[in-house]
Protein backbone atom coordinates (compact mmCIF):
# COMPACT_ATOMS: atom_id res chain seq x y z
CA UNK A 1 0.00 0.00 0.00
CA UNK A 2 1.07 3.62 -0.41
CA UNK A 3 3.11 5.18 2.38
CA UNK A 4 1.60 8.18 4.15
CA UNK A 5 4.58 10.45 3.41
CA UNK A 6 4.46 9.45 -0.24
CA UNK A 7 0.73 10.16 -0.59
CA UNK A 8 1.16 13.54 1.12
CA UNK A 9 3.97 14.47 -1.25
CA UNK A 10 1.93 13.36 -4.27
CA UNK A 11 -0.92 15.62 -3.13
CA UNK A 12 1.56 18.47 -2.54
CA UNK A 13 2.81 18.13 -6.14
CA UNK A 14 -0.80 17.96 -7.35
CA UNK A 15 -1.60 21.30 -5.69
CA UNK A 16 1.61 22.77 -7.06
CA UNK A 17 0.30 22.01 -10.57
CA UNK A 18 -3.32 22.81 -9.76
CA UNK A 19 -3.72 25.07 -12.78
CA UNK A 20 -2.69 22.26 -15.13
CA UNK A 21 -5.03 19.82 -13.43
CA UNK A 22 -7.90 22.30 -13.19
CA UNK A 23 -8.64 22.05 -16.91
CA UNK A 24 -8.85 18.25 -16.75
CA UNK A 25 -10.95 18.50 -13.61
CA UNK A 26 -13.46 20.88 -15.19
CA UNK A 27 -13.73 19.01 -18.48
CA UNK A 28 -14.16 15.68 -16.72
CA UNK A 29 -16.79 17.15 -14.37
CA UNK A 30 -18.62 18.54 -17.40
CA UNK A 31 -18.61 15.15 -19.15
CA UNK A 32 -19.83 13.33 -16.05
CA UNK A 33 -22.44 16.05 -15.51
CA UNK A 34 -23.81 15.71 -19.08
CA UNK A 35 -23.88 11.93 -19.01
CA UNK A 36 -25.32 11.72 -15.50
CA UNK A 37 -27.96 14.37 -16.19
CA UNK A 38 -29.11 12.52 -19.32
CA UNK A 39 -29.13 9.31 -17.34
CA UNK A 40 -31.07 10.79 -14.43
CA UNK A 41 -33.70 12.43 -16.66
CA UNK A 42 -34.27 9.40 -18.85
CA UNK A 43 -34.36 7.04 -15.86
CA UNK A 44 -36.75 9.28 -13.98
CA UNK A 45 -39.10 9.68 -16.96
CA UNK A 46 -38.97 5.98 -17.73
CA UNK A 47 -39.68 5.20 -14.11
CA UNK A 48 -42.76 7.45 -14.04
CA UNK A 49 -44.09 6.20 -17.37
CA UNK A 50 -43.57 2.57 -16.44
CA UNK A 51 -45.23 3.16 -13.09
CA UNK A 52 -48.23 4.64 -14.92
CA UNK A 53 -48.32 1.68 -17.29
CA UNK A 54 -48.14 -0.72 -14.37
CA UNK A 55 -51.21 0.96 -12.90
CA UNK A 56 -53.12 0.22 -16.12
CA UNK A 57 -54.84 -3.12 -16.82
CA UNK A 58 -53.06 -6.08 -18.42
CA UNK A 59 -54.15 -5.30 -22.00
CA UNK A 60 -55.30 -2.12 -23.72
CA UNK A 61 -57.35 -2.76 -26.87
CA UNK A 62 -57.80 -0.14 -29.55
CA UNK A 63 -59.72 -0.49 -32.77
CA UNK A 64 -58.28 0.86 -35.99
CA UNK A 65 -59.59 1.62 -39.43
CA UNK A 66 -57.40 2.87 -42.26
CA UNK A 67 -54.64 2.97 -39.73
CA UNK A 68 -56.39 5.33 -37.32
CA UNK A 69 -58.15 4.82 -34.00
CA UNK A 70 -61.76 3.85 -34.47
CA UNK A 71 -64.48 3.60 -31.78
CA UNK A 72 -65.48 0.35 -30.10
CA UNK A 73 -68.92 -0.73 -28.85
CA UNK A 74 -70.61 -2.75 -26.10
CA UNK A 75 -70.38 -5.76 -28.44
CA UNK A 76 -66.58 -5.61 -28.25
CA UNK A 77 -66.78 -5.43 -24.46
CA UNK A 78 -69.04 -8.46 -24.32
CA UNK A 79 -66.95 -10.59 -26.74
CA UNK A 80 -63.70 -9.94 -24.91
CA UNK A 81 -65.24 -10.47 -21.48
CA UNK A 82 -66.32 -13.98 -22.56
CA UNK A 83 -62.73 -15.07 -23.25
CA UNK A 84 -61.10 -17.58 -20.92
CA UNK A 85 -58.68 -15.94 -18.50
CA UNK A 86 -60.29 -12.48 -18.66
CA UNK A 87 -61.64 -11.25 -15.32
CA UNK A 88 -63.07 -7.90 -16.42
CA UNK A 89 -63.32 -5.54 -19.37
CA UNK A 90 -63.84 -1.82 -19.06
CA UNK A 91 -64.69 0.45 -21.94
CA UNK A 92 -62.95 3.81 -21.64
CA UNK A 93 -63.17 7.12 -23.42
CA UNK A 94 -59.79 8.56 -24.31
CA UNK A 95 -58.75 10.87 -27.11
CA UNK A 96 -57.27 14.20 -28.11
CA UNK A 97 -58.99 17.56 -28.41
CA UNK A 98 -57.42 20.31 -30.50
CA UNK A 99 -57.32 23.66 -28.70
CA UNK A 100 -57.17 25.81 -31.80
CA UNK A 101 -56.60 29.13 -30.04
CA UNK A 102 -53.31 27.90 -28.65
CA UNK A 103 -52.65 25.27 -31.33
CA UNK A 104 -52.33 22.58 -28.72
CA UNK A 105 -53.65 19.09 -28.23
CA UNK A 106 -55.27 18.19 -24.89
CA UNK A 107 -55.50 14.59 -23.78
CA UNK A 108 -59.15 13.87 -22.90
CA UNK A 109 -59.70 11.01 -20.45
CA UNK A 110 -63.11 9.76 -19.33
CA UNK A 111 -63.55 9.54 -15.55
CA UNK A 112 -66.94 8.26 -14.28
CA UNK A 113 -66.36 9.80 -10.84
CA UNK A 114 -66.79 13.29 -12.29
CA UNK A 115 -70.11 15.09 -12.82
CA UNK A 116 -71.13 15.98 -16.39
CA UNK A 117 -70.26 19.66 -16.07
CA UNK A 118 -66.98 19.46 -14.23
CA UNK A 119 -63.44 18.53 -15.11
CA UNK A 120 -60.03 17.95 -13.60
CA UNK A 121 -57.07 19.30 -15.52
CA UNK A 122 -53.29 18.92 -15.48
CA UNK A 123 -50.87 21.75 -14.70
CA UNK A 124 -49.83 22.21 -18.34
CA UNK A 125 -53.47 22.46 -19.44
CA UNK A 126 -54.27 24.92 -16.66
CA UNK A 127 -51.45 27.23 -17.74
CA UNK A 128 -52.50 27.08 -21.40
CA UNK A 129 -56.13 27.82 -20.51
CA UNK A 130 -55.25 30.58 -18.06
CA UNK A 131 -53.35 32.42 -20.78
CA UNK A 132 -56.68 32.88 -22.53
CA UNK A 133 -58.46 33.68 -19.26
CA UNK A 134 -60.24 30.33 -18.93
CA UNK A 135 -59.93 30.16 -15.18
CA UNK A 136 -63.34 29.13 -13.89
CA UNK A 137 -64.70 27.23 -16.85
CA UNK A 138 -63.65 26.18 -20.33
CA UNK A 139 -65.55 26.09 -23.61
CA UNK A 140 -64.91 23.05 -25.78
CA UNK A 141 -65.60 23.97 -29.36
CA UNK A 142 -66.94 20.98 -31.35
CA UNK A 143 -68.48 20.74 -34.83
CA UNK A 144 -71.99 20.93 -33.45
CA UNK A 145 -71.85 23.08 -30.34
CA UNK A 146 -69.95 24.76 -27.57
CA UNK A 147 -69.63 22.64 -24.43
CA UNK A 148 -69.11 24.55 -21.19
CA UNK A 149 -67.37 22.69 -18.38
CA UNK A 150 -66.35 23.99 -14.97
CA UNK A 151 -62.72 23.66 -14.03
CA UNK A 152 -63.25 21.81 -10.79
CA UNK A 153 -59.75 20.74 -9.84
CA UNK A 154 -56.21 21.11 -11.02
CA UNK A 155 -53.82 18.22 -10.64
CA UNK A 156 -51.27 19.25 -8.01
CA UNK A 157 -47.89 20.53 -9.15
CA UNK A 158 -45.31 17.84 -9.68
CA UNK A 159 -47.80 15.04 -10.33
CA UNK A 160 -47.38 12.34 -12.92
CA UNK A 161 -45.87 13.18 -16.29
CA UNK A 162 -48.96 11.79 -18.08
CA UNK A 163 -51.39 14.13 -16.33
CA UNK A 164 -49.66 17.33 -17.46
CA UNK A 165 -51.64 17.60 -20.73
CA UNK A 166 -54.69 15.66 -19.45
CA UNK A 167 -58.29 16.76 -19.00
CA UNK A 168 -60.42 14.34 -16.99
CA UNK A 169 -64.10 14.56 -17.90
CA UNK A 170 -67.23 12.58 -17.25
CA UNK A 171 -67.24 9.87 -20.00
CA UNK A 172 -70.37 11.22 -21.64
CA UNK A 173 -69.00 14.77 -21.69
CA UNK A 174 -65.77 13.37 -23.03
CA UNK A 175 -67.69 11.58 -25.82
CA UNK A 176 -69.43 14.83 -26.69
CA UNK A 177 -66.14 16.70 -26.81
CA UNK A 178 -64.47 13.99 -28.91
CA UNK A 179 -67.47 13.64 -31.24
CA UNK A 180 -68.27 10.05 -30.24
CA UNK A 181 -71.65 8.38 -29.92
CA UNK A 182 -72.92 7.71 -26.41
CA UNK A 183 -72.42 3.91 -26.70
CA UNK A 184 -68.90 4.18 -28.08
CA UNK A 185 -65.56 3.62 -26.40
CA UNK A 186 -62.12 4.53 -27.62
CA UNK A 187 -60.31 1.76 -25.74
CA UNK A 188 -60.96 -1.37 -23.76
CA UNK A 189 -59.08 -2.09 -20.56
CA UNK A 190 -58.82 -5.85 -20.21
CA UNK A 191 -57.81 -7.43 -16.88
CA UNK A 192 -56.13 -10.83 -16.97
CA UNK A 193 -55.24 -12.10 -13.47
CA UNK A 194 -52.75 -14.73 -14.65
CA UNK A 195 -49.69 -12.96 -16.07
CA UNK A 196 -48.79 -16.05 -18.12
CA UNK A 197 -52.10 -15.77 -19.94
CA UNK A 198 -51.80 -12.12 -20.97
CA UNK A 199 -49.99 -12.87 -24.24
CA UNK A 200 -52.50 -15.56 -25.23
CA UNK A 201 -55.51 -13.35 -24.50
CA UNK A 202 -53.96 -10.50 -26.53
CA UNK A 203 -53.51 -12.90 -29.46
CA UNK A 204 -57.09 -14.14 -29.17
CA UNK A 205 -58.42 -10.56 -29.24
CA UNK A 206 -56.49 -9.86 -32.43
CA UNK A 207 -57.80 -13.11 -33.93
CA UNK A 208 -61.41 -12.09 -33.26
CA UNK A 209 -60.86 -8.47 -34.34
CA UNK A 210 -58.07 -8.34 -36.92
CA UNK A 211 -58.29 -4.55 -37.07
CA UNK A 212 -57.77 -4.24 -33.30
CA UNK A 213 -54.49 -3.54 -31.60
CA UNK A 214 -54.02 -5.32 -28.26
CA UNK A 215 -51.14 -3.80 -26.32
CA UNK A 216 -49.95 -5.70 -23.26
CA UNK A 217 -48.23 -3.99 -20.33
CA UNK A 218 -45.00 -5.61 -21.45
CA UNK A 219 -45.36 -4.12 -24.98
CA UNK A 220 -46.12 -0.69 -23.51
CA UNK A 221 -43.08 -0.83 -21.23
CA UNK A 222 -40.95 -1.91 -24.21
CA UNK A 223 -42.22 1.11 -26.17
CA UNK A 224 -41.27 3.46 -23.31
CA UNK A 225 -37.82 1.93 -23.07
CA UNK A 226 -37.43 2.28 -26.83
CA UNK A 227 -38.45 5.94 -26.59
CA UNK A 228 -35.59 6.56 -24.16
CA UNK A 229 -33.18 4.22 -25.85
CA UNK A 230 -29.76 5.56 -25.08
CA UNK A 231 -28.50 5.60 -28.66
CA UNK A 232 -31.38 7.60 -30.06
CA UNK A 233 -31.72 11.20 -31.18
CA UNK A 234 -30.90 13.79 -28.60
CA UNK A 235 -28.94 11.28 -26.52
CA UNK A 236 -26.59 10.77 -29.42
CA UNK A 237 -25.90 14.50 -29.71
CA UNK A 238 -25.20 14.76 -26.01
CA UNK A 239 -22.95 11.72 -26.16
CA UNK A 240 -21.05 13.22 -29.09
CA UNK A 241 -20.51 16.40 -27.03
CA UNK A 242 -19.26 14.26 -24.17
CA UNK A 243 -17.02 12.28 -26.51
CA UNK A 244 -15.44 15.38 -28.08
CA UNK A 245 -14.86 16.82 -24.60
CA UNK A 246 -13.32 13.54 -23.58
CA UNK A 247 -10.76 13.68 -26.40
CA UNK A 248 -9.86 17.24 -25.42
CA UNK A 249 -9.45 15.96 -21.89
CA UNK A 250 -7.23 13.07 -22.94
CA UNK A 251 -5.05 15.40 -25.00
CA UNK A 252 -4.63 17.59 -21.93
CA UNK A 253 -3.89 14.52 -19.83
CA UNK A 254 -1.04 13.48 -22.13
CA UNK A 255 0.31 17.03 -21.92
CA UNK A 256 0.55 16.63 -18.16
CA UNK A 257 3.59 14.40 -18.49
CA UNK A 258 5.50 16.16 -21.27
CA UNK A 259 7.46 19.41 -21.33
CA UNK A 260 8.21 20.66 -17.81
CA UNK A 261 6.60 17.59 -16.33
CA UNK A 262 9.10 15.37 -18.11
CA UNK A 263 11.89 17.18 -16.30
CA UNK A 264 10.03 16.83 -13.02
CA UNK A 265 9.88 13.06 -13.51
CA UNK A 266 13.62 13.06 -14.25
CA UNK A 267 14.34 15.07 -11.07
CA UNK A 268 12.28 12.69 -8.96
CA UNK A 269 14.05 9.74 -10.56
CA UNK A 270 17.41 11.31 -9.69
CA UNK A 271 16.24 11.58 -6.07
CA UNK A 272 15.57 7.85 -5.90
CA UNK A 273 11.97 7.49 -7.09
CA UNK A 274 11.72 4.20 -9.01
CA UNK A 275 9.46 3.67 -12.04
CA UNK A 276 6.81 2.16 -9.76
CA UNK A 277 6.93 5.27 -7.55
CA UNK A 278 6.45 7.59 -10.54
CA UNK A 279 3.45 5.57 -11.71
CA UNK A 280 2.05 5.49 -8.16
CA UNK A 281 2.54 9.25 -7.89
CA UNK A 282 0.67 9.92 -11.13
CA UNK A 283 -1.97 7.37 -10.14
CA UNK A 284 -2.64 9.08 -6.81
CA UNK A 285 -2.71 12.57 -8.32
CA UNK A 286 -5.00 11.66 -11.20
CA UNK A 287 -7.22 9.47 -9.04
CA UNK A 288 -7.81 12.44 -6.76
CA UNK A 289 -8.61 14.65 -9.77
CA UNK A 290 -10.80 12.14 -11.60
CA UNK A 291 -12.73 10.84 -8.58
CA UNK A 292 -13.41 14.31 -7.20
CA UNK A 293 -14.42 15.51 -10.69
CA UNK A 294 -16.66 12.46 -11.06
CA UNK A 295 -18.34 13.06 -7.69
CA UNK A 296 -18.78 16.75 -8.47
CA UNK A 297 -20.26 15.95 -11.91
CA UNK A 298 -22.74 13.46 -10.43
CA UNK A 299 -23.68 15.80 -7.57
CA UNK A 300 -24.22 18.72 -9.98
CA UNK A 301 -26.30 16.52 -12.29
CA UNK A 302 -28.39 15.36 -9.32
CA UNK A 303 -29.01 18.94 -8.23
CA UNK A 304 -29.72 20.09 -11.78
CA UNK A 305 -32.19 17.29 -12.51
CA UNK A 306 -33.90 16.60 -9.20
CA UNK A 307 -33.65 19.95 -7.40
CA UNK A 308 -33.88 22.40 -10.30
CA UNK A 309 -36.01 20.01 -12.39
CA UNK A 310 -33.60 20.04 -15.34
CA UNK A 311 -34.31 23.42 -16.95
CA UNK A 312 -33.83 23.40 -20.79
CA UNK A 313 -33.00 19.69 -20.98
CA UNK A 314 -36.35 18.62 -19.54
CA UNK A 315 -38.36 20.15 -22.40
CA UNK A 316 -36.11 18.45 -24.95
CA UNK A 317 -36.78 15.12 -23.31
CA UNK A 318 -40.50 15.57 -22.70
CA UNK A 319 -41.09 16.95 -26.15
CA UNK A 320 -44.43 18.47 -25.15
CA UNK A 321 -45.75 21.78 -26.47
CA UNK A 322 -47.28 22.44 -23.07
CA UNK A 323 -45.21 23.92 -20.34
CA UNK A 324 -44.31 21.14 -17.97
CA UNK A 325 -44.37 21.57 -14.25
CA UNK A 326 -43.83 17.95 -13.33
CA UNK A 327 -41.25 17.05 -10.71
CA UNK A 328 -38.76 14.45 -11.79
CA UNK A 329 -38.80 11.50 -9.42
CA UNK A 330 -35.27 10.88 -8.10
CA UNK A 331 -34.21 7.58 -9.66
CA UNK A 332 -30.56 6.54 -9.75
CA UNK A 333 -29.25 3.64 -11.77
CA UNK A 334 -26.12 2.68 -9.84
CA UNK A 335 -24.96 0.26 -12.55
CA UNK A 336 -24.91 2.92 -15.24
CA UNK A 337 -23.23 5.41 -12.91
CA UNK A 338 -20.59 2.80 -12.25
CA UNK A 339 -20.17 2.32 -16.00
CA UNK A 340 -19.62 6.07 -16.46
CA UNK A 341 -17.06 5.88 -13.67
CA UNK A 342 -15.33 2.90 -15.24
CA UNK A 343 -15.22 4.23 -18.80
CA UNK A 344 -14.31 7.73 -17.62
CA UNK A 345 -11.81 7.24 -14.86
CA UNK A 346 -9.82 4.38 -16.40
CA UNK A 347 -8.95 6.19 -19.69
CA UNK A 348 -8.36 9.35 -17.63
CA UNK A 349 -5.73 7.52 -15.58
CA UNK A 350 -4.35 5.49 -18.48
CA UNK A 351 -3.69 8.55 -20.64
CA UNK A 352 -1.42 10.04 -18.02
CA UNK A 353 0.09 6.89 -16.49
CA UNK A 354 1.21 5.29 -19.76
CA UNK A 355 3.17 8.34 -21.01
CA UNK A 356 4.56 8.81 -17.47
CA UNK A 357 5.75 5.22 -17.48
CA UNK A 358 7.29 5.69 -20.93
CA UNK A 359 9.21 8.74 -19.70
CA UNK A 360 10.19 7.10 -16.41
CA UNK A 361 11.82 4.13 -18.17
CA UNK A 362 13.84 6.35 -20.52
CA UNK A 363 17.40 7.54 -19.90
CA UNK A 364 17.15 10.35 -17.36
CA UNK A 365 20.64 11.75 -17.76
CA UNK A 366 19.78 14.13 -20.62
CA UNK A 367 16.57 15.36 -18.98
CA UNK A 368 18.32 16.38 -15.74
CA UNK A 369 21.10 18.17 -17.65
CA UNK A 370 18.77 20.41 -19.64
Amino acid sequence: MFRKNFVEYAILLLFKDRNDHLFSFLIFSFIVFILSAVLFISDSLQYDLIRSINAQPSIVVENTRVGRAYPMHEGHVYDVSQMTGVSSVEGVVDGYHYFAQKRLWFHIIGDPSLAKDEMLIGQGVQKAMAELYYEEEFHFLTEERLIKVKINKIAPKGTNILSNDAIFLNPNTARAVLGMEMDEYSKLYVSVPNPNEVGNVALKIVEIYPSAKATTQEDAIGAVRHLYYYKGGIFMILYVIALVSFFILLKNQIGLVYGEKKKEIAILRSLGFCIKDIIALKFIQNSVVSISAYLLGVALAYGYVFVLNAPYLRNIFLGSELENSISLTPVIDINLLFLIFLFGVIPFLAFVILPAWKIAISDMSEAVKS
Binding site: Y9, A10, L12, C274, S365, V368, S370
Partner: protein, 225 residues
Amino acid sequence: MSHILIQNLNKLYNPNKPNAFYALKNINLSIEDGEVVILKGVSGSGKSTLLSLIGGLSKPSSGEILVNHQNIAKLPDIMSSAFRHQEIGFIFQSFNLLEGLSVYQNIVAPLALTTLSKEAIHETVSRAMHLANIEHKKDQKVGSLSGGERQRCAIARAVVMEPAIILADEPTANLDKENSLIFIEILKKFKTLHQTVVIATHDTLFDDLSCIDRCVHMRDGEILE
Protein backbone atom coordinates in the same frame (compact mmCIF):
# COMPACT_ATOMS: atom_id res chain seq x y z
CA MET B 1 31.77 3.58 3.74
CA SER B 2 31.78 3.67 0.03
CA HIS B 3 34.38 2.58 -2.43
CA ILE B 4 33.76 3.12 -6.15
CA LEU B 5 35.49 0.92 -8.67
CA ILE B 6 34.91 1.47 -12.38
CA GLN B 7 36.21 -1.16 -14.80
CA ASN B 8 36.31 -1.12 -18.61
CA LEU B 9 33.35 1.24 -18.76
CA ASN B 10 31.93 2.22 -22.15
CA LYS B 11 28.92 4.29 -23.04
CA LEU B 12 27.71 4.27 -26.62
CA TYR B 13 24.92 6.63 -27.67
CA ASN B 14 22.63 5.86 -30.65
CA PRO B 15 23.95 2.33 -31.18
CA ASN B 16 23.47 0.86 -34.68
CA LYS B 17 22.75 4.30 -36.09
CA PRO B 18 24.89 6.49 -38.37
CA ASN B 19 25.26 9.05 -35.57
CA ALA B 20 26.46 6.52 -33.00
CA PHE B 21 29.27 7.77 -30.79
CA TYR B 22 31.14 6.72 -27.69
CA ALA B 23 30.67 9.19 -24.82
CA LEU B 24 32.94 7.07 -22.63
CA LYS B 25 35.68 4.74 -23.78
CA ASN B 26 37.22 2.07 -21.61
CA ILE B 27 37.10 4.01 -18.32
CA ASN B 28 38.95 2.52 -15.36
CA LEU B 29 38.83 4.46 -12.13
CA SER B 30 38.94 3.77 -8.42
CA ILE B 31 37.62 6.27 -5.85
CA GLU B 32 38.30 5.57 -2.21
CA ASP B 33 35.90 6.13 0.62
CA GLY B 34 35.91 9.76 1.78
CA GLU B 35 37.90 10.88 -1.25
CA VAL B 36 37.07 14.18 -2.99
CA VAL B 37 37.73 13.78 -6.72
CA ILE B 38 37.49 16.37 -9.46
CA LEU B 39 36.68 15.27 -13.02
CA LYS B 40 38.16 17.93 -15.26
CA GLY B 41 37.74 18.42 -18.93
CA VAL B 42 36.13 20.55 -21.60
CA SER B 43 32.45 20.24 -22.55
CA GLY B 44 31.78 16.93 -24.26
CA SER B 45 34.69 15.17 -22.61
CA GLY B 46 32.31 12.70 -20.86
CA LYS B 47 32.40 14.04 -17.27
CA SER B 48 28.61 14.35 -16.89
CA THR B 49 28.03 10.98 -18.54
CA LEU B 50 30.40 9.37 -16.08
CA LEU B 51 28.54 10.99 -13.15
CA SER B 52 25.20 9.80 -14.54
CA LEU B 53 26.51 6.25 -14.76
CA ILE B 54 27.96 6.33 -11.22
CA GLY B 55 24.63 7.64 -9.96
CA GLY B 56 22.66 4.99 -11.85
CA LEU B 57 20.76 7.56 -13.91
CA SER B 58 21.68 5.69 -17.05
CA LYS B 59 23.12 2.30 -17.88
CA PRO B 60 26.54 1.70 -19.43
CA SER B 61 26.89 -0.05 -22.77
CA SER B 62 29.53 -2.32 -21.24
CA GLY B 63 31.79 -2.50 -18.21
CA GLU B 64 31.20 -2.45 -14.48
CA ILE B 65 30.57 0.16 -11.80
CA LEU B 66 31.16 -1.42 -8.43
CA VAL B 67 30.07 0.49 -5.36
CA ASN B 68 31.03 -1.46 -2.24
CA HIS B 69 31.56 -4.51 -4.49
CA GLN B 70 28.02 -4.29 -5.91
CA ASN B 71 27.72 -3.79 -9.66
CA ILE B 72 25.13 -1.04 -9.86
CA ALA B 73 25.04 -1.22 -13.66
CA LYS B 74 23.31 -4.58 -13.41
CA LEU B 75 20.76 -3.67 -10.78
CA PRO B 76 17.05 -3.73 -11.69
CA ASP B 77 15.27 -0.37 -11.54
CA ILE B 78 13.78 -0.82 -8.11
CA MET B 79 17.19 -1.59 -6.59
CA SER B 80 19.16 1.01 -8.51
CA SER B 81 16.56 3.60 -7.46
CA ALA B 82 16.89 2.49 -3.83
CA PHE B 83 20.68 2.75 -4.19
CA ARG B 84 20.35 6.25 -5.63
CA HIS B 85 17.93 7.19 -2.86
CA GLN B 86 20.12 6.01 -0.01
CA GLU B 87 23.68 6.30 -1.29
CA ILE B 88 23.77 9.14 -3.82
CA GLY B 89 23.20 12.87 -3.55
CA PHE B 90 23.08 14.73 -6.85
CA ILE B 91 23.91 18.41 -7.30
CA PHE B 92 23.18 19.65 -10.81
CA GLN B 93 24.42 22.62 -12.75
CA SER B 94 20.84 23.83 -13.32
CA PHE B 95 19.94 22.96 -9.70
CA ASN B 96 16.90 20.93 -10.84
CA LEU B 97 14.58 22.17 -8.13
CA LEU B 98 10.86 21.57 -8.28
CA GLU B 99 9.51 24.97 -9.25
CA GLY B 100 6.41 26.13 -7.42
CA LEU B 101 7.45 24.46 -4.18
CA SER B 102 9.16 26.04 -1.19
CA VAL B 103 12.73 25.34 -0.13
CA TYR B 104 11.49 22.99 2.62
CA GLN B 105 9.15 21.17 0.22
CA ASN B 106 12.02 20.63 -2.23
CA ILE B 107 14.39 19.32 0.38
CA VAL B 108 11.81 16.96 1.85
CA ALA B 109 11.23 15.22 -1.53
CA PRO B 110 13.57 12.23 -0.98
CA LEU B 111 12.02 11.68 2.46
CA ALA B 112 8.63 11.06 0.81
CA LEU B 113 9.93 7.57 0.10
CA THR B 114 10.56 6.87 3.79
CA THR B 115 8.28 5.96 6.65
CA LEU B 116 9.80 8.50 9.04
CA SER B 117 7.53 10.39 11.41
CA LYS B 118 6.72 14.06 10.84
CA GLU B 119 9.07 15.07 13.67
CA ALA B 120 11.93 12.97 12.33
CA ILE B 121 11.42 14.39 8.85
CA HIS B 122 11.42 17.91 10.20
CA GLU B 123 14.60 17.28 12.17
CA THR B 124 16.35 15.70 9.16
CA VAL B 125 15.39 18.53 6.82
CA SER B 126 16.46 21.13 9.41
CA ARG B 127 19.87 19.47 9.69
CA ALA B 128 20.32 19.52 5.90
CA MET B 129 19.20 23.15 5.68
CA HIS B 130 21.63 24.08 8.44
CA LEU B 131 24.51 22.37 6.63
CA ALA B 132 23.71 24.26 3.42
CA ASN B 133 22.93 27.49 5.30
CA ILE B 134 19.46 27.91 3.77
CA GLU B 135 17.21 27.55 6.85
CA HIS B 136 16.26 31.22 6.81
CA LYS B 137 14.61 30.74 3.39
CA LYS B 138 12.79 27.51 4.19
CA ASP B 139 9.26 28.77 3.45
CA GLN B 140 10.21 30.77 0.39
CA LYS B 141 9.29 29.49 -3.08
CA VAL B 142 12.41 28.39 -4.95
CA GLY B 143 11.43 30.56 -7.91
CA SER B 144 12.11 33.67 -5.84
CA LEU B 145 15.61 32.61 -4.73
CA SER B 146 18.91 33.91 -6.06
CA GLY B 147 21.25 31.55 -7.93
CA GLY B 148 23.38 30.94 -4.84
CA GLU B 149 20.34 30.24 -2.67
CA ARG B 150 18.96 27.83 -5.25
CA GLN B 151 22.31 26.08 -5.26
CA ARG B 152 22.28 25.78 -1.45
CA CYS B 153 18.72 24.44 -1.56
CA ALA B 154 19.87 21.81 -4.10
CA ILE B 155 22.81 20.93 -1.82
CA ALA B 156 20.50 20.54 1.19
CA ARG B 157 18.26 18.23 -0.85
CA ALA B 158 21.29 16.23 -2.00
CA VAL B 159 22.49 15.64 1.57
CA VAL B 160 19.13 15.21 3.31
CA MET B 161 19.34 11.41 3.11
CA GLU B 162 22.94 11.60 4.36
CA PRO B 163 24.28 9.79 1.30
CA ALA B 164 27.71 8.22 1.22
CA ILE B 165 28.47 9.66 -2.22
CA ILE B 166 27.83 13.17 -3.52
CA LEU B 167 27.95 13.73 -7.26
CA ALA B 168 28.09 17.33 -8.43
CA ASP B 169 27.83 18.22 -12.11
CA GLU B 170 29.28 21.69 -12.86
CA PRO B 171 28.08 22.97 -9.46
CA THR B 172 29.54 26.45 -9.88
CA ALA B 173 28.79 27.01 -13.57
CA ASN B 174 25.72 29.15 -12.82
CA LEU B 175 27.16 30.93 -9.77
CA ASP B 176 29.08 34.15 -9.29
CA LYS B 177 32.45 34.07 -7.54
CA GLU B 178 31.03 34.81 -4.10
CA ASN B 179 28.53 31.95 -4.26
CA SER B 180 31.17 29.66 -5.77
CA LEU B 181 33.32 30.29 -2.71
CA ILE B 182 30.36 29.48 -0.47
CA PHE B 183 30.04 26.18 -2.34
CA ILE B 184 33.70 25.46 -1.71
CA GLU B 185 33.16 26.08 2.00
CA ILE B 186 30.33 23.54 1.95
CA LEU B 187 32.61 21.17 0.05
CA LYS B 188 35.11 21.48 2.88
CA LYS B 189 32.36 20.50 5.32
CA PHE B 190 31.72 17.36 3.21
CA LYS B 191 35.41 16.57 3.47
CA THR B 192 35.36 16.83 7.25
CA LEU B 193 32.25 14.59 7.30
CA HIS B 194 34.32 12.02 5.36
CA GLN B 195 31.87 11.91 2.44
CA THR B 196 32.93 10.69 -0.97
CA VAL B 197 32.52 13.54 -3.44
CA VAL B 198 32.90 13.46 -7.22
CA ILE B 199 32.70 16.82 -8.98
CA ALA B 200 32.60 17.28 -12.75
CA THR B 201 33.81 20.78 -13.51
CA HIS B 202 36.05 22.88 -15.70
CA ASP B 203 36.03 25.77 -13.18
CA THR B 204 39.62 26.80 -12.33
CA LEU B 205 38.43 27.75 -8.83
CA PHE B 206 38.82 24.10 -7.86
CA ASP B 207 42.50 24.02 -8.87
CA ASP B 208 44.89 23.51 -5.97
CA LEU B 209 42.18 23.39 -3.29
CA SER B 210 43.43 21.67 -0.16
CA CYS B 211 40.20 19.69 0.23
CA ILE B 212 40.60 18.08 -3.21
CA ASP B 213 42.28 14.70 -3.05
CA ARG B 214 42.61 14.02 -6.73
CA CYS B 215 42.01 15.53 -10.12
CA VAL B 216 41.10 13.23 -13.02
CA HIS B 217 41.47 14.76 -16.48
CA MET B 218 39.16 13.62 -19.26
CA ARG B 219 39.11 14.19 -23.01
CA ASP B 220 36.91 12.69 -25.72
CA GLY B 221 35.43 10.16 -23.32
CA GLU B 222 38.74 8.93 -22.04
CA ILE B 223 40.76 9.45 -18.88
CA LEU B 224 44.09 11.04 -19.56
CA GLU B 225 47.01 9.37 -17.81
